[in-house]
Structures are given as structure tokens and as C-alpha cells.
């Protein structure tokens, strides 16, 4: 059940930021569903609403007043165990592109994977990948630095 909950949770959740946000949203939503039927509904972001609506009814029904806390804790712990791929990009990607990239990465590499996006405009283009504590620079900045001698040589031919 935990795996099912985890899979459901991760189906459209790709980034660490989304995980944190959606955990909170799910907690609030389920609490409202279970405990606050008579209270006014929680105001959610349209994207969060769309994400919640993507769940099937069985997923929501699997939570009740007895197990909600435990399941949420187990879910959070399971989520912490998922490896994180850190990508440092030269720009901030829009949400839809984040989802597309996330799907592509999970297809290419492994299904159980979370992405943490960071921004560094000095990279110019490309990205820096941090995985398992190791970093690899695939940015244009790194390419320029790696080809520094050739670039200097070509400049010097102009000067001569």
C-alpha cells in the first residue's frame, strides 16, 4: 500500500520542491476530506488542484481518520529515501517543461528519482549534474574553460 501510495504520489511529481509542496497540500486535502466536511474548502493552486484531481477515488478512500497520520509519515519517509538528481541550469524552467524533463529523465535513467533544480546563469547553456555526491559540468562555461588554450591560440592568430 505504501508503494502504491508512493507511486501514485510520484506519478506527476518530479522535483523535490513539488514533493514538499504536495505533501503539505495532500495533508491539507485529506484532512479536509476526512475531518472537515462541514468546513469551508481549502483554497488550492490550480496546478495543485489538477494534481489532486488526477488521483483516482480509491487513493483518497485509502486514507481515513485512523491511518492518515501514519500513512503520511510513512509516505514522507519513503520519499526521503528516493535518490535526488540535482541539475544546475542556466535558467528557470516553466512547470510544464519541468514535468516533461522529469518524465524523460525517469524514462532514461530510473523510475524512482527526484530532481532538484537550481539556477546559475553563468553556465550560459547546458547544465551541471550532481549525482551521488559527484558533480559533472556539461555547461558551455565548462566547455570554454576546457578549450581555453585553443581559444587563446585562435585569438593570437588574429593579433599576429
Amino acid at each position: 500500500m505504501a508503494n502504491k501510495t508512493l507511486d501514485t504520489f510520484l506519478e506527476n511529481t518530479f522535483t523535490v520542491y513539488q514533493v514538499r509542496r504536495r505533501l503539505t497540500v495532500l495533508q491539507l486535502y485529506l484532512s479536509h476530506q476526512i475531518f472537515g466536511a462541514n468546513e469551508k474548502g481549502v483554497e488550492l493552486d490550480p496546478l495543485d488542484k489538477a494534481w489532486l484531481n488526477s488521483f483516482d477515488a480509491d487513493f483518497v478512500k485509502s486514507f481515513n481518520h485512523k491511518n492518515i497520520t501514519q500513512q503520511m509519515q510513512e509516505l514522507a519517509q519513503e520519499l526521503k529515501k528516493i535518490p535526488t538528481l540535482t541539475l544546475i541550469l542556466p535558467l528557470e524552467l516553466p512547470e510544464n517543461q519541468t514535468a516533461i524533463l522529469g518524465k524523460w529523465i525517469r524514462e532514461k535513467f530510473q523510475k524512482s528519482l527526484l530532481i532538484e533544480f537550481k539556477t546559475d546563469p553563468s553556465l550560459i547553456a547546458g547544465c551541471v549534474i550532481i549525482w551521488n555526491g559527484l558533480s559533472k559540468d556539461y555547461s558551455m562555461q565548462a566547455r570554454i574553460k576546457s578549450q581555453q588554450e585553443e581559444i587563446l591560440g585562435s585569438f593570437k592568430t588574429f593579433l599576429k
Binding site: 524533463l101 550560459i124 547544465c127 549534474i129 585569438f155
Partner: protein
């Protein structure tokens, strides 16, 4: 040259003028003295004549007075004698006394007049001596004037001779100095030309050396600067390129292009088996 001659001529004129002035002064002084002596002589002669007349008149008065007294005394004696014989002895005594008195008085008068005459004669003698002195001084003055005139003439001749000699000497020295000056000037000009040419040659060589040194140092500076700038460029070219690309590509690369490059990077990572 003309200036020197004019100066010498002026000296001649000055000396001549001075001699003339001296001569005129001497002549004036001589004439004045002569005139004064003449006046004194006349005065002395006048005094002499007056003194003679005065002395004669005094003598005449004295004699007249004594004769008057004597006549009075004789008359008194005769009156007395004629009046009485008794009293002849007394009258004779009185007559004798009076006569003695009169004679004494006359004698005193005569002595007095004699003294006056003597005094007058003494004064006259003094005056005459003075007029003699005047005559002597006149003689001396005349002699002195003659001497002065003679000395003036001699002096004038001497001055003229001196001026002539001076003029000759000046002309000679003028000629000699001109020649000397010409020689010195020529010598100086030759020296100057030689020094100037040496100086110019030396200056030219020094200038050329200085210019060469400056050019060399400037070249060295340029080379050093070039090397330093190239080193700076080498250090910063990569940063400059990155900055340039960052500025340019950030605006030029679309999202699609960026994503493409990102996907390429991830493909590369997979190919390198970085993410396993």
C-alpha cells in the same frame, strides 16, 4: 675714432679757454691795482700839499702871535717908560718880567707850534713815506704785472706746446689702439667660430645619443607593455568570452535551444555512465 678726435678737440678748446680766462683775470687785477695806486698817489700828493700849507700857516700864526706879543710887550714897556721914571725900576722890572713872560709865552707858543710843526712834518713824512711806499709798490706792481704777463705768455706758450704734444700723442695712441682692437676682434671672431662649430658638433652627437637612447627605451617600454597586455588578455580572455557569451547567448538562445543543450548534456552523462 671721430668721437675720440672730438673729445681731444674739446680738450684743446677747454685748455685755450682756461688760458684766456686766466689772462683776462690777471689783466683785470693789474688794471685795478694800477688805478688804486694812482688814486693813492694823488691822495698822497694832495695830503702833502695840504700839510705843507697847514704847516706854513701854523708857522705864520706862531710867528705872528709871537710878534704880537712882543709888540704888546714893547708898547707896554714904552708906556711905562714914558709915564714915569720912578717907577722905571719897577716898570723896568715889570717890563722885564712881562717881557720875560711874553718871551716865555712866545717861546712856549713857538715850541708848541714847533711841536705841532714837527708832528705835522712827522705825519707829512709818514705820508710821504707812504707815498714812497706807494711808489715802490707801484713799481713792484708794475714789475709784478710785467712778470705776470711774461709768465702768462710763457704759460700760454707752454700750454700750447703741451696741447700740441698731447694731440699728437693722442692721435698716435688712437691709431695704435684701433689697430690693436681690430686684431683682437679678428682673433675673437676666429675663436668664436671655432668654438661654435665644436659646440654644434658636440651638441649634435649628444642629441643623437639621447634620441637613440629615448627610442630604445620607448621600444623596450612598448615591448614590455605589449607583453603585459598579452598576459592580461590571456588571463581574462576566457572570462571576457564567458561574459560576452553570457550576455549574447542568454538573449539569443531560445528555451527550445536551451532544453536541447540540456538534453544533450544528460545524454552525454548517460553515455559516460555518470548516472547509474
Amino acid at each position: 675714432m671721430s668721437t675720440i678726435n672730438s673729445i681731444y678737440l674739446s680738450y684743446d678748446l677747454i685748455f685755450a679757454f682756461m688760458a684766456l680766462i686766466i689772462a683776462i683775470v690777471f689783466a683785470v687785477l693789474y688794471l685795478r691795482e694800477f688805478y688804486l695806486r694812482q688814486q693813492q698817489l694823488k691822495h698822497a700828493q694832495k695830503i702833502l700839499a695840504e700839510s705843507q700849507q697847514q704847516s706854513l700857516s701854523i708857522i705864520h700864526d706862531a710867528i705872528k702871535k709871537s710878534e704880537d706879543i712882543i709888540s704888546e710887550a714893547e708898547l707896554a714897556g714904552i708906556k711905562t717908560l714914558s709915564s714915569s721914571k720912578l717907577q722905571t725900576g719897577k716898570f723896568e722890572q715889570e717890563y722885564v718880567d712881562q717881557l720875560t713872560k711874553a718871551t716865555e709865552l712866545a717861546k712856549n707858543e713857538i715850541i708848541h707850534s714847533k711841536d705841532a710843526l714837527n708832528k705835522f712834518l712827522f705825519d707829512l713824512r709818514e705820508d710821504i713815506n707812504k707815498s714812497k711806499l706807494v711808489k715802490q709798490s707801484e713799481t713792484a706792481l708794475t714789475k709784478t704785472a710785467a712778470d705776470v704777463q711774461e709768465s702768462l705768455v710763457k704759460t700760454q706758450a707752454g700750454f700750447e706746446q703741451f696741447l700740441g704734444e698731447l694731440k699728437t700723442t693722442i692721435n698716435q695712441s688712437n691709431t695704435i689702439s684701433q689697430e690693436l682692437i681690430k686684431q683682437q676682434v679678428n682673433t675673437e671672431f676666429e675663436k668664436f667660430e671655432q668654438n661654435l662649430s665644436d659646440f654644434l658638433t658636440q651638441t649634435e652627437q649628444q642629441s643623437m645619443k639621447a634620441v637613440e637612447l629615448e627610442v630604445k627605451s620607448a621600444r623596450q617600454l612598448i615591448d614590455t607593455y605589449k607583453t603585459q597586455q598579452m598576459a592580461l588578455i590571456d588571463e581574462n580572455i576566457v572570462a571576457m568570452l564567458e561574459k560576452t557569451l553570457n550576455l549574447v547567448l542568454s538573449k539569443k538562445l531560445t528555451l527550445k535551444d536551451q532544453l536541447e543543450i540540456i538534453y544533450d548534456s544528460l545524454e552525454k552523462a548517460k553515455a559516460e555512465k555518470f548516472i547509474v
